[in-house]
Symmetry: C2
Subunit: 168 residues, 2 copies
DNA sequence: TTGGAATGTCAACAACACTGACATAAAGTG
DNA sequence: CACTTTATGTCAGTGTTGTTGACATTCCAA
């Protein structure tokens, strides 16, 4: 029994055994592997990695974002991000424009080539996500998103919500 | 519109826009960061990494598992796993016993020290998972698990289901 | 006895993260 | 204007985790 005291934290409907929680942990582990498998295959052919994918994804989502903003979203050091951005810029997938108001800032945009890669990666990942959603059913989708959102650190949740459902 | 053909794959209740799917992708990204944050902090103090955590976790879940079985679950090369196991064995967290039937096989067990680390890591992760479950509510939990399970590669799903809810 | 499976080890390498230090340019502040 | 801070970039070094390839040992099984 997970909670020998018999208390359940005030949520009277939830009895969470350690075993159930561990299964959730393992589900996250195995699912994340599947989640990254398709993009990883595409990226390895182009000698890119997950770090490139993340940069391309968020530049696509927030065109014109600054380096600092991207740094906050990705949660890595500037040296780490810079290595990735340099190769993407050299290869003509990302364009870096000096800011108009503040000339210290660099605003990042995907080129047409960059957008093409983003579509390819995103299409693979969306296909899997769509299949998972359909297999699980409509009610499951909302629960999935709710639990994931609650699992985030609050800083990350801000970034997540900030770009939430722009087109809806 | 996500699907200009108007088809929806036979699940008449699901209209999945690209935007909704992308939000799901981002939710996975941000949530996984939160999911690993607590163990990562504990591990870095002990100069271990996620690879050690994974090994410890699955040895705890399946005591006596062979190296080959662990290899299949973790999906890494034996050289990579061996490096991790060697340090865990040297540090007295894992015990490797020669198989009785097949003496080529090594059966892996956590020592009391190993179990203690597992409890510490697992407790941190379960606390976050429990909080997320409670914040999202009981209905959400089932949906969460269903979507994650559907997102796995079939090989991984086998491993996942094989150790499913042993105590339930 | 020979073949193959399971395991372990060595070497080399790459991706991706980190720290620390330093440089440059531009903006803000006194 | 002098000074500080901010944003960015770069160089060097290090660590973890993953990869390939090669090779040795042990041992089951045909």
């Amino acid at each position: 029994m997970a909670d020998p005291t018999g208390h359940n934290g005030g949520e009277s409907l939830l009895f969470l055994t350690d075993e159930q929680l561990r299964k959730g942990i393992e589900a996250m582990f195995f699912a994340y592997r599947g989640f990254t498998a398709d993009p990883d295959r595409i990226l390895s052919e182009k000698s890119y990695g997950r770090a490139h994918h993340r940069a391309v994804h968020f530049i696509h989502r927030a065109p014109g974002t600054t380096v600092n903003n991207l740094l906050a979203i990705l949660g890595v050091t500037k040296q780490s991000l810079n290595r990735v951005l340099r190769s993407l810029i050299e290869d003509g997938l990302v364009e870096s424009r000096v800011g108009k108001k503040d000339k210290r800032e660099r605003h990042l945009y995907l080129t047409e080539t960059g957008e093409a890669l983003e579509r390819e990666l995103s299409a693979a990942q969306r296909t899997r996500m769509r299949a998972a959603y359909r297999a699980a059913g409509p009610d499951a989708v909302q629960g999935f998103r709710q639990v994931l959102e609650a699992m985030m650190d609050s800083d990350m949740r801000k970034h997540y919500l900030a770009m939430k459902d722009k087109t809806v």
